[in-house]
């Protein structure tokens, strides 16, 4: 039969008559013991050898034990110093005896704690007495130390010390016990038979090389086996950012629902960000506390003049026969002021006005997943800049039911069903709804978006003559719902933790 080289060596070195230890086989075959063990197990599997295992206990002195074997036990040294000082007659001051003994540091405590235990005398109120009948030469522990001196990893049954004394030395930390598994190999009958019939060495190969392939040699070789269970070196490789991946998922869903993507400036005039949205200029969200106004540059160059006029009229007078405007100031200079957009609805107003890609004919659906900027406090759930999902549908006669149906469809794609619609107020939509959904893990009702039908005061100046319903939500919110992240700052921004990004489970 053909066997691996190491198996052949072990088989030949083993005997049918007596068990040979792995170490002995390693010596005989000149192979490392672990290779021998591996080969022996493989042979056992083939039924060619038998393996017997037993656990051997060996002992050695610790460094401390070796020291006491040389210098004698501290309590013995204390006893001898006490005798010297005459403590067998009358108590002697402990300080004097210790000084004379030459004991130092922790050894003093060790001596004192074992002195009385072993009957060398007693210690009382700082004085020491010595028992004249005590015999250090009969001290079992001292004798054991002497017997073990110079012994290294001796099998426990090979030393002439009783178990009780060994236990005591172990307790005192003077002794080290080591357990090791010893395996012994014996040839089986089948092994003997096969050996007689002749065993050949099969050649093993480590690496597949060009030579091996071109020469055709690969046909006659056996490949060295690897430990295929072992962990390989850690490898990172490239990976799309988890938030980006979520954004792409959202985009996929929306494109699938017939939405077209918008894009436009991050720095924009308040006109597009707020005025076109029928947000009164003295609305609290438009104060400098909430928005990032720009110091440089300060104002937009051009705005479509007639649109500005229509928007101003809507703000001041309202729209329609029965319309009323806001009782708020309106200043074109403020409308022209530049800021980082606080929502991507600025893209919607640009598209709806026809300025971006020309007049849009209904029906139409548009979306964006883009960054917005809010002057908030940075905390685990709020960032100064985050992604907003924005979408709108333009058609004749849209109803609240259409709006609800669209959102149910959208959120269902992310596993969020049972949406609740809470009537809400936005300056630019009526009716308006906050959308609530059940958190997939906590079961809590959480806000997952804001929506509504755009007001006529917004649409009429933009020249839109049919209905438009819209909604928005923070992408980060959806991400946190989907993954259960606790601190958004670990994910998005320069404070991110690469490890977290690397470890986050891929979803699809």
């Amino acid at each position: 039969m053909q066997l691996k080289e190491s198996q052949v060596a072990v088989l030949e070195a083993a005997s049918a008559d007596e068990a040979t230890s792995v170490d002995a086989l390693a010596g005989a075959t000149d192979l490392p013991p672990e290779t021998v063990t591996g080969a022996a197990f493989e042979l056992e599997e083939e039924g060619l050898v038998a393996i017997e295992e037993r656990v051997d206990e060996t002992i050695s002195l610790t460094d401390e034990g070796t020291t006491y074997a040389d210098e004698r036990l501290p309590e013995v040294r204390l006893y001898e110093a006490a005798l010297e000082a005459g403590a067998d007659d009358a108590p002697v001051s402990m300080g004097q005896v210790i000084g004379a003994s030459g004991l130092e540091g922790p050894q003093v405590d060790i001596a004192l704690s074992n002195y009385a235990r072993k009957g060398y005398g007693s210690i009382d109120s700082g004085e020491i007495t010595a028992d004249p009948d005590a015999d250090p030469s009969a001290d079992a522990e001292a004798n054991a130390l002497e017997a073990l001196s110079g012994v290294d990893d001796a099998p426990v049954d090979s030393v002439d010390v009783d178990a009780e004394t060994l236990e005591e030395l172990d307790r005192r930390g003077l002794l080290e016990r080591t357990e090791s598994t010893v395996r012994e190999v014996t040839l089986s009958e089948l092994g003997v038979t096969e050996l007689m019939a002749g065993v050949e060495t099969a050649e093993t190969v480590g690496q597949v090389t060009p030579e091996l392939l071109t020469s055709g040699e690969w046909e006659g070789v056996e490949f060295a086996e690897y430990n295929v269970e072992a962990d390989a070196e850690r490898f990172e490789g490239g990976r799309v950012h988890i938030l980006r991946q979520t954004a792409d998922r959202v985009k996929d869903v929306l494109v699938g629902m017939g939405f077209q993507e918008m894009e436009g400036p991050h720095v924009d005039a308040d006109f597009w960000i707020n005025d076109c949205l029928f947000m009164p200029q003295d609305h609290p969200a438009r104060t400098h506390w909430d928005r990032f106004a720009l110091e440089e540059p300060t104002h937009i160059d051009d705005l479509p003049e007639d649109l500005v006029e229509r928007v101003e009229r809507a703000h001041r007078e309202g729209v329609g026969d029965d319309g009323e405007g806001y009782h708020s100031p309106w200043d074109e200079d403020f409308a022209r002021a530049l800021a980082l957009r606080g929502h991507t609805t600025s893209l919607s107003t640009r598209y709806l006005s026809g300025e971006e890609i020309g007049e849009i004919e209904p029906p139409a659906r548009f979306f964006s997943v883009e960054k917005v900027y809010r002057n908030d406090t940075l905390d685990p759930t709020h960032l100064l800049e985050f992604f907003q999902i924005e979408g709108w549908v333009m058609a004749e006669d849209l109803s609240v039911r259409d709006l609800m149906g669209t959102f149910e469809e959208f959120y269902a794609q992310f596993g969020i069903t049972d949406i609740e619609f809470k009537p809400h107020y936005n300056p630019y939509t009526e009716p308006s709804f906050e959308l609530f959904g059940t958190h997939p893990t906590t079961g809590e009702l959480v806000e997952i978006g804001n929506s509504g039908i755009f007001r006529e005061e917004m649409l009429e100046p933009l020249g839109v003559e049919c209905d438009v319903m819209a909604w928005g939500l923070a992408l980060e919110r959806l991400l946190m719902l989907m993954y259960g992240f606790e601190d958004i700052r670990d994910i998005h921004g320069t404070l991110c933790d690469l490890e977290l990004l690397r470890e986050t489970e891929v979803t699809y």
């Binding site: 077209q260 003295d282 990032f292 540059p297 329609g320 005061e457 921004g493």
Partner: protein, 577 residues
């Protein structure tokens, strides 16, 4: 979102629904759009409110809405105030920035601790919302018995709204024992300091006088003499502001709240001087109603359901409105309702707002969702497709994709990378600057991506290397040729950080990327302070200099606490188009 505190016991008492449990109340409140946020120490509900229904900023208004919701009240109730006794005369000296005033007298109030607290809360919430932190409208409520009006016109007492010198008359403001001039109040009194900005630019400060002297310094603080307590029986309410409609509406809300507590309203005359407004004389509160014409067809299309006219009228009455059918229009079958709006409503600008009320009364959550039956074709924007395809390639080349902030500080963007805004190097440029930034970490938009990548490396020195990071990121620079004055560009930035990272590694990946997009790459040597001289090149794609590639300079590495070499490149995304 703003919140209002409502005592559930008071709510039960005012709605007459003693049997409602706290949880039932919470559900009913959610239906009104008032979301339960938590509880105060005194056990009151903290409710989040949307700032349209400002008539629900106190327990009285919330109770009124709930009575409509329960069907215990229907239609419109308008209190009838008694004829005016008191007059507010507006003097010529009133600051032109704050010319308007309104007022009302409230008799026979019965204030206990709770109702006084509720009144104070209502005042505060109105200040915060409609009053725009008192800038647009400010409320002063006084104990009427402490006022002495001179009998200017046949026994009718008068008080005067005037403008005073900042260092003129003295009075004792609330929460103080000392007499102060208005200027001293702004300087030394805590409330004065809070609201000083509202009037400090005025030449003359607004003030209200009775015969005994100055008793109110709007919009800052009232005098102590007329302070309202639980012993007060009759009240004088005055409001000043920058817009008559706004303060009149605020007044209506306060009047309705007090009338709900059983008080009697009494009108007040307001006489403006013979100026631009031509000696206008008003009688307030103005409790007139207004109407909106709402088409039946529009109601049905917005709600998406068919409704009987009787149902519409019923829904209107349950919303605290009144609706009347009017067969109108040229073809005669255009059904329209004339809907009457009560005087405390400030949010009804358009017929659509009425439809929203009808929907709420119907119960929006009772509507059955349906997917709109309109077909459209979806698609991605070209720029976002380009970004995505470049990102896919970068990930394939072994980069970990990042997403960093667009806002940054000057130090991070320039100084720590050894460049200045006006340097003639890639990445420099005048940044769009944020006005009055609150955090010194975020003062401008970044002009390039590499600084953000180095910040991530700096933050992650304890994580395993190699760290090969890339970002296709937004950058911006001031550019007069753009309509917004800002050129917004996407750039492709990449860094390789590991013990063996070098120029070649970066170049190899850049080459691969360019090959895949079939563009021609050249890298002539250049100098850039961020990178090591002699190991830096300009990225030229199809003959145009669009970026930089190199090994990051040790000075920059040490500045970022990095102990491994870093090579990287950055170039304009557009170059791959």
């Amino acid at each position: 979102m703003p919140t209002v505190d409502i005592d559930p016991d008071e709510l039960r008492e005012l709605t007459g629904r003693e049997e409602k449990s706290d949880d039932e109340l919470k559900d009913d409140l959610f239906g009104l759009g008032l979301e339960y946020e938590g509880q105060t120490e005194d056990g009151a509900f903290e409710l989040e409110f949307a700032p349209d229904r400002l008539d629900r900023l106190s327990v009285e208004g919330v109770a009124r809405s709930m009575r409509y919701q329960y069907g215990d009240a229907r239609g419109i109730h308008v209190p009838s105030p008694n004829s005016p006794e008191w007059t507010i005369v507006v003097d010529d000296s009133v600051p032109e920035e704050r010319p308007y005033v309104t007022g009302a007298v409230i008799r026979d109030v019965d204030l206990d601790e709770e109702s006084l607290e509720s009144l104070i809360q209502l005042q505060e919430k109105l200040h915060a919302t409609m009053g725009r932190k008192r800038a647009k409208g400010a409320i002063g409520i006084h104990d009427l018995t402490m006022l002495k009006g001179s009998a200017a016109t046949e026994g009718n007492p008068t008080i005067e709204y005037v403008g005073v010198e900042p260092d003129g008359d003295r009075f004792v403001p609330l929460d103080s024992d000392a007499e102060m001039t208005p200027a001293e109040v702004l300087e030394d009194h805590q409330t004065g300091q809070t609201y000083a900005d509202l009037v400090s630019e005025y030449e003359r400060y607004p003030a209200i006088y009775d015969d005994l002297g100055l008793f109110s310094f709007p919009p800052v603080i009232n005098g102590r003499r007329t302070e309202v307590s639980t012993d007060s029986r009759d009240l004088f309410v005055e409001m000043t502001g920058t817009d008559q409609w706004t303060i009149d509406k605020m007044l209506n809300i306060v009047c309705y709240a007090l009338a709900a507590r059983g008080a009697t309203l009494e009108e007040v005359r307001v006489e403006y001087p013979n100026g631009e407004s031509g000696g206008r004389e008003l009688v307030r509160p103005d409790l007139s109603t207004k109407t909106k014409s709402v088409s039946h067809d529009r109601i049905e299309t917005i709600l998406g359901i068919d409704l009987d006219p009787d149902e519409v009228i019923d829904l209107a009455e349950r919303s605290g409105l009144e609706a009347e059918k009017r067969e109108g229009g040229a073809d005669g079958d255009d059904l329209v309702y004339v809907v009457t709006i009560p005087p405390y409503r400030v949010d009804v600008l358009h017929p659509l707002d009425v439809i929203d009320d009808l929907g709420r009364a119907y119960g929006f959550n009772d509507l059955e969702p349906k997917y709109p039956d309109v077909g459209t074709v979806g698609g991605r924007h070209e720029r976002s497709r380009l970004e995505d395809s470049v990102r896919t390639q970068l990930v394939g080349l072994g980069f970990e994709d990042l997403l960093n902030f667009h806002m940054i500080s000057e130090a991070e963007n320039f100084d720590r990378l050894e460049i200045a805004p006006d340097d003639e190097v890639y990445g420099a440029g005048e940044p769009p600057a944020i006005k009055g930034p609150y955090s010194e970490d975020y003062t401008m938009l970044r002009t390039w991506v590499t600084p953000s990548l180095l910040m991530v490396l700096e933050r992650n020195t304890h994580r395993a290397y190699p760290q090969n990071l890339a970002e296709i990121g937004f950058t911006a620079a001031v550019d007069d040729s753009e309509n917004t004055g800002v050129a917004e560009r996407r750039r492709v930035g990449a860094v390789l950080a590991s013990h063996e990272a070098g120029y070649e590694d970066a170049k190899a990946r850049l080459q691969a990327l360019c090959r895949r997009f079939d563009v021609d790459l050249e890298t002539p040597p250049t100098d850039h302070p961020t990178f090591i001289s002699g190991r830096t090149a300009s990225v030229m794609i199809d003959g145009e200099a669009v970026g930089v590639i190199g090994e990051v300079h040790p000075k920059v590495l040490v500045e970022h606490d990095l102990e491994v070499p870093v090579a990287g490149f950055e170039f304009d995304l557009e170059a791959l188009r």
